[in-house]
Amino acid sequence: MVSLTEPFEGLFGNRRRLAVAIIGLLALAVIPFSTTAYVTDLVFTGLVFVVLGVSWNLVAGYAGQVSLGHHAFFGLGAFVSAWLTTPARAGLPEAIQSPALVAVAGGTLAAGLLALVLGPILFRLTGHYFAIGTLAVAAIIQLVLLDQRRFSGGSTGYYVQNNLSEPTVFLLMLAATVGVVLVTYAIVNSRSGLGMRAIHDDEDAASSLGVNPLRYKLLAFAVASAMAGLAGGFYAQFSLYVNPDSTLGVTWMVDTLVVVVLGGMGTMAGPLLGAGLFLTLDTVLRETAGEFATTIEGALIIIFVIFVPGGLYKLITNRSGGDESRETEGEAAAERAE
């Protein structure tokens, strides 16, 4: 059991794990300087997957609210960050032009705020209705932006500019990813995390015991959405291009789902493992299976839910046995280092 007063104790309690994590991070940090642009791109996408997976897992895996609108917050973060560094192209006043970091912060904030506004409304819905409601809200956001060509560039999209070099954006994203993992870990192992799990297991029971479901759901939703916005903000500054079809598209939701389902829902290491596996799989599949890659990914989701319900996390911990969380956290760091 992890201590509630020292949320990071479990994470850094093990020296070997800490060492693996540091080595893994260092290995990731030199990637933009030591490899090709292709590999850098790939690993950057992997970091985006980690942030999306870890944050969605907070809402769905821990608080039990299966949101299907996570991609909207990612896309919003991307667009706000794009507007703030390159306002003229969206017909916005030059005065709001900001450095890339401020722009990413703006995207993060916008996504978090939108979640705080939408949260109380959406959480009037439960279960299936919540899932499909979030899917609809995300679709509305995408359609409105697609219709407002001035702000989104319509279907042709919108080019972004900033004053940062590609390796700098990469390193900032790496730092952000570490931050997201640590913050999520702290939340999950705090009182709030317990509240979320109580809601997940039985909302009515939790409510009757004095847990305020809305408070914890809203916390998970707002934090996770801000994190998705953060990933989107950096994605826009890294790819230097946003487009309502792809940036706000349901594809990001699919990727998030694959990452979490492959890795293991409701576990801290799951999304990290899932992001590593998915990145490898996606890269291999795109080269070998070509256009069938997406079909196979869809099939994998189904196969994993039916045959490997706990995801990779459970598969590994079942085999190795022993102290589960410690072992897999190390594995996760190793996976990310690859």
């Binding site: 299966v66 299936h128 209705y129 499909i132 409601g133 409105v144 219709d147 789902l257 990914e297 869809g298």
Partner: protein
């Protein structure tokens, strides 16, 4: 200001379109009401049904009406297999599992569709000559009238099946209380298999009908899923009559809304109606809280 003629025209076209929306939603509504499963792949199954009709028309020259029957049959079988081999093992594990599985299936259908037929929009042709029908200042195109009539036939057929056949009675009994139905000797597993078959079969038929009016691409799945769900919350889960009313409301709101707001707003209108109704009356405008009729 929009001219009155144009408004009447949109209104009537909306009503005719609403019939298809009702068929598209009926399968989703039955499966949700009877099995408590939201078929996230419903829109993508509709897309598959549309392509069945398109392929039969372009390759063999068969009328879309035959296409509709075949689309129903194909999706009926697919739905039964889906329930038996994919959903049955994960039901009861929690709410997330079926949702995620069906999301994965939707993804598969969309990408297979893109590989098989490409990304270009395609349509069928009604294949039956006919005059436009004039009512006052409004003219109703022949395909729209035919698809509406077929929609009504499908809806009445489903209603009569549930109401007057023994199997229909067993389905309703299972929806009301599955364990009691089991004690009465009903094989509820088979009932669920059949229900999903009917639900997805109706999605296929709706797709075939839509292919007569609108171009279809492999990417229309999500849009039609949300439209169908909008009809379900408008009409109340599991209610056949409610679904018809919900479909008509959605068809009219979309068509009249587009008149004032522009074509880019078609989907925004229906999704917004959906979210609004969901928030005001989570069990639908005409729905009770339970499943069944």
């Amino acid at each position: 200001m929009v001219a009155t003629d144009l408004l009447v025209q949109s209104l009537l076209n909306g009503l005719l379109l609403g019939g298809i929306y009702a068929v598209a939603a009926l399968g989703l509504s039955l499966v949700f009401g009877i099995m408590d499963i939201v078929n996230l792949a419903h829109g993508h199954m509709l897309m598959v049904g549309a392509y069945v009709a398109i392929v039969l028309f372009t390759a063999l020259g068969l009328t879309p009406i035959v296409g509709m029957v075949v689309a129903f049959a194909v999706l009926f079988v697919l739905g039964m297999a889906l329930q038996r081999f994919v959903l049955e093992p994960v039901v009861g594990e929690g709410m997330e599992q079926p949702i995620i599985v069906l999301f994965g299936l939707a993804l598969m259908l969309q990408s297979i569709g893109r590989i098989v037929v490409g990304s270009d929009a395609q349509a069928t042709d009604i294949g039956i000559p006919g005059e436009a029908i004039t009512i006052g200042a409004a003219t109703l195109s022949f395909p729209r009238v035919v698809t509406f009539v077929l929609s009504i036939v499908l809806i009445l057929g489903t209603w009569a099946f549930l109401k007057y056949t023994t199997t229909g009675l067993a389905i309703r009994a299972t929806a009301q209380n599955s364990s009691a139905a089991q004690y009465m000797g009903i094989d509820t597993d088979n009932i669920y298999v059949l229900t999903l078959g009917i639900g997805t079969g109706l999605a296929g038929a709706a797709g075939a009908l839509l292919s007569m009016l609108f171009p279809i691409t492999p990417f229309v799945g999500w849009s039609y899923l949300l439209k169908a769900f909008a009809v379900v919350v408008l009409g109340g889960v599991g209610s056949v009559a409610g679904t018809l009313v919900g479909g008509l409301i959605l068809g009219v709101s979309e068509n009249v809304g587009v008149l004032y707001l522009g074509g880019g707003f078609r989907d925004i209108i229906s999704f917004s109606i959906f979210v609004l109704v969901l928030l005001v009356r989570p069990h639908g405008l005409f729905g009770s809280s339970g499943g069944g009729e």
